[in-house]
């Protein structure tokens, strides 16, 4: 754990000094937690919780204002046939569509914009900061940035730190989610170091992936990130959230992640302020499962909307 304030000149050795992660052991712990059997009332609760934690996402080159409006409508009222269904936590879109989204949702939901040359992160600092400022000005109250993986893998932790700090500054009152892109970091030791680096630099959330690289979120990397936020909170007194994004398609998957949160960091993180799912197709599966639990029979794709 890194407790005392760390000068940038000591950052590299502090991060290297974190306890290692045994990959086989971590994967085995995540797998064992995946065998938890969540049924009946716990399942119903988990489904509603998961819905409320979704950042409903569209991040495609072909996004239009029409698409974003449809997404927002679904985000606010996921199941038109059941007004009791919780709304999601946020919509997550490209920065140039923020105004459209904010117009559509008003104050009902968070509007999260990706920034900093998402998904690659390959652009100048000036461009990254401008992108952030513009998105915030247009109404985004959350920014999902990507770290410079090239710099990280080249060992330039200071550069990565300074970028996150600067973006955090540019966010103003908006909350900052930092995407580690764990699929490119490869090792769990890297995931642990990147998690700590992001939190020390001011992240409000650490996020697994852009969703554009495979593998995206996995239970194992999410476990390591949850351990990091747990230890960080103990030492620094500040709770950082975790967002698992990409590749989470079914309710069964989502519930496994909630179990991970429950048994690694506990109840304090089981709310949309500290845990999110970055997803698009997941929402419909959650709705189908919710319908099944209420009606008693399996539902079908015609009973949930396409946005």
């Amino acid at each position: 754990m890194i407790g005392t304030p760390v000068g940038l000149d000591q950052l590299h050795s502090a991060l290297k000094g974190l306890a290692g992660v045994d990959e086989v052991g971590a994967a085995s712990r995540a797998a064992m937690l995946g065998t938890r059997s969540i049924k009946a009332s716990s399942k119903a609760r988990a489904i509603d919780l998961a819905i409320a934690m979704v950042d409903l996402t569209t991040l495609e080159g072909m996004d239009t204002p029409g698409k974003v409006r449809a997404l927002c409508a679904k985000a606010m009222r996921p199941d038109p046939g059941d007004p009791g269904t919780p709304a999601v936590a946020a919509v997550c879109i490209y920065g140039d569509l923020v105004a459209t989204a904010r117009d559509a949702v008003g104050d009902a939901l968070h509007v999260a914009a990706v920034a900093t040359a998402f998904p690659s992160g390959r652009a100048s600092m000036a461009v990254k900061l401008l992108e952030t400022e513009q998105a915030v000005a247009a109404g985004a109250d959350e920014i999902d940035m990507v770290i410079d993986r090239g710099a990280f893998l080249a060992g330039d932790y200071v550069r990565v730190f300074e970028e996150i700090s600067a973006v955090k500054n540019a966010c103003g009152s908006a909350r900052l989610k930092v995407i580690l892109e764990t699929g490119e970091l490869k090792t769990l030791d890297n995931v642990r170091r990147a998690s700590w680096l992001a939190m020390l630099a001011g992240a409000d959330f650490i996020k697994t992936s852009t969703g554009k690289v495979t593998p995206a979120a996995t239970p194992t990397v999410t476990l390591v990130m949850l351990e990091a936020v747990r230890d960080f909170a103990l030492v620094h007194g500040r709770k950082v959230g975790v967002k698992a994004a990409g590749g989470i398609r079914t309710s069964k998957d989502a519930i496994k992640y909630l179990v991970l949160v429950n048994e690694t960091v506990g109840n304090d993180w089981l709310n949309p302020d500290l845990f999110r799912f970055g997803a698009s197709t997941l929402l419909n599966d959650l709705l189908l499962q919710r319908q099944r639990m209420l009606s008693g029979h399996y539902s079908g794709p015609n009973y949930v909307t396409i946005d």
Partner: protein, 485 residues
């Protein structure tokens, strides 16, 4: 149930018992059939989580044991040893497949009779039992490649006495290699856990195994003694308490009967300051709370490098509070029932000695059911090497924490015991793992992991933890004649 520290309580997720079909009473399995011995007394077997009676089984006496051994002898001499290795192997493959096919049913039965969580029976005991039969089936026609001489021969009839902690798995560890090497067996399951062995007898029938190749006699320690001392057997294999193991060794002295023993342990789980900490915590927890600590190779002594002991204990206590103790048939249970009232008494007594001798007890807060036998996961700190809880095998969910300063000291403390079954080493440094492993006097060394078992991996102890190995190439030797050529 463990007190839920969080707001995401898990609803009960019970595994249905509808899949099992337990008779109200069982005979013993001799020469391919279940027989009801006319005069044998009966005793009950209960579910230790609820104390309800599951069934009644026989207390096999001298005539029954003699009949079983005679059946095994005839089967060996006339059928099994005359059969080609390839054909024997195919029978063992059949048993492996049958274990897979009926795995779910047998897992439920095991949890009901033993008290272990259904998740463990389902995910560990049954798959490993099937794997033991698969692995050994493949040796049956390859014994001349095992490094044990050309055309190694079977010993004959093996008497096998197994414990209550992994009933079906221990049966697999014994029966699979014995059969693959051409021996026939008479096996006695533990008195508190006979049901899966009796179910296995049914599998032998379904496999069309020639009568007499496998025989199952039930009973308590007296039956075991009769079997171990029976002059008609060629080999005795015993897994159980050190006390009884010594008795058996004494009674076989001066005879030509071969013996292997797998007895108790007091393994040291050694954590260095550069250990992968979160995984080490999992390894510690798994090492002593898996199967309620009823594991001969349990990591019951935690040896922590002094520089990290406080931080580690904080992590450990936090982790213990997420352990779910309760109904073994709930799929989310982590720690089940203690196997018997007698075992619970032993655990309680030893834990009290810890208090009396000055160690500090801490137990995970949990709500234990009213009926059944339960003990909360417990940690003792301020333990000295002279304390009973640091020397004697507790065989329950109780961890004793000691510290060390240097690798040499860790090795010394770890080895300072008459036992030598297993040890754990946690460090990121490979050369240290290998240095420690070469110096630890333990038959199984786990590095950055714990409680890993595989039929290909030999298992067995040094010193009073027993002699002989089970699994792997080394494990075949116990069932074959010494070859000279």
């Amino acid at each position: 149930m463990t007190d839920e520290p969080s707001g995401f309580p898990y609803a009960p997720a019970p595994e249905s018992t509808a899949i099992v079909n337990i008779s109200s009473s069982y005979g013993i399995f001799i020469d391919g059939a279940f027989v009801e011995p006319a005069d044998a007394p009966r005793f009950k077997t209960i579910n230790p989580a609820t104390e309800e009676v599951l069934s009644e089984v026989c207390q096999a006496g001298a005539p029954e044991v003699a009949a079983a051994v005679a059946a095994a002898r005839r089967a060996h001499d006339e059928v099994w040893s005359a059969m080609s290795g390839a054909e024997r192997g195919k029978y063992v493959y059949r048993l492996a497949r049958l274990l897979q096919e009926r795995a779910r049913e047998l897992a439920v039965l095991e949890s009901m009779d033993n008290g272990k969580p259904i998740r463990e029976s389902r995910d560990v005991d049954l798959p490993l039992a099937a794997a033991h039969f698969f692995y050994h089936a493949g040796w049956a026609d390859k014994l001349d490649h095992a490094g044990l001489g050309r055309d190694p021969r079977s010993l004959g009839v093996a008497a096998q006495i197994i414990p209550w902690n992994f009933p079906l798995l221990m049966l697999a560890w014994k029966v699979a290699p014995a059969l693959a090497t051409g021996n026939t067996v008479v096996l006695k399951p533990a008195e508190t856990t006979p049901l899966t062995a009796l179910a296995f007898a049914e599998l032998c029938q379904q496999a069309d195994l020639p009568p007499g190749v496998v025989n199952i006699v039930t009973g308590d320690g007296r039956t075991g003694q009769l079997l171990a001392e029976c002059e008609g057997v060629d080999k005795v294999a015993f897994t159980g308490s050190t006390e009884v193991g010594k008795q058996i060794q004494r009674s076989l002295a001066g005879t030509r009967r071969r013996l292997t023993l797998e007895l108790g342990g007091k393994a040291a789980n050694i954590i260095f300051d550069d250990a992968p900490l979160d995984e080490a915590v999992e390894g510690i927890v798994n090492g002593i709370y898996f199967n309620q600590g009823h594991v001969c190779c349990a990591g019951s002594r935690l040896l922590v490098q002094e520089s990290i002991v406080e931080d580690l204990l904080v992590r450990l206590r936090r982790r213990l509070q997420t352990l779910r103790v309760g109904d073994p048939l709930d799929k989310n249970t982590d720690v089940g029932a203690i196997n018997s009232a007698a075992q619970l008494e032993r655990i309680v007594a030893l834990a009290e000695s810890g208090d009396a001798e000055g160690a500090q007890r801490w137990s995970a807060p949990c709500t234990l059911p009213d009926r059944g036998f339960w003990f909360p996961p417990t940690i003792f700190t301020s333990v000295s090497t002279a304390h009973r809880i640091a020397r004697e095998e507790i065989f329950g969910p109780v961890l004793s924490v000691l510290t060390f300063r240097t690798p040499d000291e860790a090795v010394e403390k770890a080895n300072n015991t008459p036992y030598g079954l297993s040890a754990g080493i946690w460090t990121e440094k490979g050369s240290r793992i290998l240095w420690m492993a070469s110096r630890l006097r333990a038959g199984v060394v786990w590095a950055n992991t714990f409680n890993q078992f595989d039929p290909a991996s030999p298992f067995g102890g040094y010193g009073e933890s027993g002699f002989g190995r089970e699994g792997g190439r080394a494990g075949l030797a116990a069932y074959l004649q010494e070859a000279s050529s």
